[in-house]
């Protein structure tokens, strides 16, 4: 479904990604692991079109998207829940969700999707008319996820999925992500809680200093010594 | 934005330059034509206004449009006291009264941010104008006032000294802890408050300092005008010019403010006298061009040349 081949990405003159390749199949849940500053966010931005790679290609559903503008990529069905929430602070919860469904396709089914999102995060319904900036940290995270789902994506990328969520909710969210696959959504997951991520993922990639250093079935990876040491803190 | 610590290299250069300019400026009336002296006085006046405006507004990012009310207050102080007291004392009083007014304005408006602040400060200077007009009509029973005039060389020296004091103050504030505090207020006021900075007091105090110089400048300039009324003294133009000049020159750098004030004053006069009918058109076009091509104002241009020059040297060696 998504094929990233050999991309090099830059921030002005600083190279952040070095020949990165990655693949996601239909309905697959892939985890992306790496230390702070490894380049995870950069990779996600490159896929969603906020950054354009200097070389290499990104294909989505057999279409080359690496030079497409971000808003067209969204229309193809790629959703990117950014790191740090990036809510529209001066709009209400409800309006933020509406914006998630901005594409024509999603707008037509907005009410239906909204209901589903409200089911997943009931607090968003309660806080409907509150300004995004006054939500608590965790509530903001939920809103960011909800907004990401509003576009009815084929591929959903979560950057720092459980950031700032209470343990019970974090567990809940992992479950939800798993169920998303049953709705035909493929998932690319960036997550600091590596153990949890590996538990639910099918496959995982490990990114270090802008390069993929390891990849494979997640079960295998969680046994890997390097991973244990560097990311599981064992 | 400037860095808190200035390299000694830059400091020495700055000081040397300042002293040379000062000596030159002080001897000027001896050998220069009177009209150039008069023009220089205007440039100094705008330097005082722009630099003092920027003392407060540049680091904190509160764009104040109240300059006219402070400047005008200074003018009125001269109009009232000019015939009774010597110039330096009246100028000092002009500054102090303006500072007091700034304290009042500050208390009213400094809780506001962004557009609110801009509008309110402008509203405030209009309010001051209306009030003084009301006072003149209903209490003094007249509108305009005759003002005691002073020789243009004296005005020149007075303005030169004031400009010098303003620059020294601005420089000192920048380099001191106040400068850092003001800058952090501009960056993130809430965080600054939690860092132990008494944000309100700091803002009001700086606002008053900056108003002092504006008021003093008004008291000096009044001597040139011989007749004033509230709409002359509180002309809104005075509120806008410092903003324009500071942004034009480059808001982050002290020398940018000086440059902006100097260049725009000269430019305005040249355009005004050479192209009386197209003056505004050309002025507007130049403003647009500078904004479009020099995102950091004239300072950006200077720095480009500066760096270009250095790079050139490197290439040669």
């Amino acid at each position: 479904m998504l094929q990233v081949s050999n991309i090099n990405s830059f921030y002005r003159k600083i190279q952040a990604l070095w020949g990165v390749s990655l693949r996601i199949d239909e309905k697959e849940l892939v985890a992306l692991i790496g230390a702070n500053g490894a380049g995870k966010t950069t990779l996600l931005k490159t896929i969603s079109g906020l950054l354009h790679p200097a070389s290499g290609s990104v294909q989505f559903l057999d279409m080359r998207i690496d030079q497409m503008p971000a808003h067209s990529i969204v229309e193809l069905g790629v959703s990117h829940v950014s790191e740090g929430r990036r809510l529209f602070q001066d709009m209400t919860v409800r309006e933020n969700l509406d914006m998630g469904a901005y594409t024509h396709k999603a707008w037509n089914k907005k009410e239906e999707t909204l209901e589903r999102v409200h089911q997943i995060f009931p607090i968003l319904k309660v806080r409907s008319r509150q300004l995004a900036r006054t939500l608590s940290g965790g509530e903001q995270q939920m809103l960011a996820m909800g907004r990401g789902l509003m576009s009815r994506p084929r591929l959903c990328m979560f950057d720092e999925l459980s950031y700032g969520l209470a343990p019970i909710l974090a567990k809940e969210v992992f479950k939800i992500v798993k169920t998303l696959r049953e709705q035909d959504i493929a998932i690319l997951l960036v997550e600091q809680n590596v153990r949890h991520a590996l538990e639910i993922a099918d496959r995982a990639y490990v990114l270090e200093n802008g390069r993929i250093v390891l990849e494979g079935e997640s079960r295998g990876l969680s046994e890997n010594e390097l991973i244990k040491q560097a990311y599981l803190g064992l | 934005m400037h860095s808190f610590r200035v390299t000694s290299n830059k400091k020495a250069l700055f000081l040397a330059l300042l002293i040379v300019i000062l000596i030159f400026a002080a001897t000027m009336p001896l050998y220069i034509q009177p009209y150039i002296i008069i023009s220089l006085t205007s440039i100094f006046m705008y330097i005082v206004l722009t630099v003092s405006w920027a003392i407060f507004s540049a680091p904190t990012r509160y764009i104040s449009l109240a300059s006219a009310s402070f400047f005008g207050t200074g003018i009125y102080v001269w109009a009232i006291l000019g015939s009774a007291l010597p110039l330096p004392i009246v100028v000092g009083i002009g500054g102090l009264v303006s500072s007091l007014l700034a304290l009042l304005t500050g208390l009213l408006t400094l809780r506001l941010r962004g557009l609110y602040f801009i509008i309110f400060t402008f509203g405030f200077s209009e309010f001051v104008r209306h009030s003084s007009q009301w006072w003149e009509i209903n209490i003094s029973g007249t509108e305009g006032r005759w003002v005691v005039g002073v020789d243009h060389t004296i005005i020149y020296y007075a303005m030169l000294i004031l400009a010098f004091l303003t620059l020294i103050t601005a420089y000192a504030i920048r380099r001191s802890r106040f400068g850092l505090a003001l800058q952090s207020i501009g960056q993130f006021e809430e965080a600054a408050a939690h860092a132990g900075i008494n944000v309100t007091a700091m803002k009001i105090m700086t606002f008053a300092i900056s108003a002092f110089f504006m008021g003093a400048a008004g008291a000096i300039m009044a001597t040139r005008w011989s007749y004033i009324d509230p709409s002359i003294a509180f002309s809104p133009l005075i509120s806008f010019m410092p903003v324009l000049m500071a942004i034009f020159g480059g808001i982050g750098q002290l020398y940018g403010h000086i440059l902006g004030a100097g260049v725009l004053t000269i430019l305005a006069e040249v355009l005004l006298t050479e192209f009386p009918y197209y003056y505004m058109l050309l002025f507007g076009l130049i403003l647009l061009a500078v904004i479009l091509f020099l995102p950091h104002g004239l300072v950006g241009l200077m720095e480009k040349w500066w760096k270009g020059g250095l790079a050139g040297k490197h290439a040669n060696t």
Binding site: A35, G164, A166, E172, G233 | M1, Q187, G196, I197
Partner: protein, 239 residues
């Protein structure tokens, strides 16, 4: 000895009681954890202590004196420093100047600039950011931003430090490092009041844990007791 305590602290936002009459106290040399579901009112409590918000009712005392209604800068100067859940950095200023503001102004006595600069460097070295001193703060990654937040708070030489989710977004290895860091802070004699969703940190470090739910105190006790508390498991920890 009680260093910081609150009594019947309450904060309403319109109809919502974000904090609904909570008592809490921090003793000298303690690490106290504050946990609770999202939106329970934890950050609001920090805002009330640090003076960012005024309580609707209730009392907050520091060293036995009421600090209710004081301004943030006054509270900071008395010795209560905080970090923000979402970093509030001076984005265009360098890392060192970010800390310098805190070390210059955060203490009750006037610090000479040279001393303040030294203290700022120390604080940066302490959190391991020495190499980034001259970078503008906006170029820092999330983990580094959190460290900078901590460095700034430390630079005021506080008696109590309020840490709001400083471990969010860190991977387990980094969490271990952060725990070390907080222990060192505690070693300096600073009392720690921390909001955290990373259980490993709370359970491993805290002397006492306060659990908040819907703005009310649900439970309070040792980490072990809290971990076993049925209600806490139900609303916060999950099975």
């Amino acid at each position: 000895m009680r260093i910081l305590d609150g009594e019947g602290v309450r904060k309403n936002f319109g109809g919502l009681a974000a904090v609904a009459g909570v008592d809490f106290c921090i003793n000298q040399g303690e690490i106290v954890g504050l946990i609770g579901p999202n939106g329970a009112g934890k950050t609001t409590i920090f805002n009330l202590i640090s003076g960012a918000l005024n309580p609707s009712s209730g009392q907050i005392r520091f060293n036995g004196e009421s600090i209710t209604g004081l301004k943030p800068y006054q509270i900071c100067k008395r010795g209560v420093a905080r970090t923000f859940q979402s970093a509030k950095l001076f984005a265009d200023m360098t890392v060192i100047n970010n800390v310098l503001v805190w070390s210059l102004f955060g203490k009750s006595a006037r610090t000479p600039v040279a001393d303040a600069e030294m203290e700022a460097r120390e604080a940066l070295a302490f959190v391991g950011l020495s190499e980034k001193e001259e970078l503008p703060a906006k170029d820092l990654g999330i983990a580094a931003q959190k460290r900078l937040e901590i460095a700034r708070a430390l630079a005021t030489k506080p008696q109590v430090i309020l840490l709001d989710e400083v471990m969010a977004g860190l991977n387990p290895t980094e969490v271990t490092q952060a725990i070390e860091l907080i222990k060192q802070i505690w070693n300096k004699g600073i009392s720690v009041f921390m909001i955290e969703h990373v259980m490993k940190a709370v359970m491993g470090m805290a002397d006492r844990v306060i659990v908040l739910h819907h703005g009310e105190k649900l439970a309070e006790g040792t980490p072990e007791a809290i971990a076993k508390n049925r209600k806490v498991v139900e609303v916060y920890l999950g099975e």
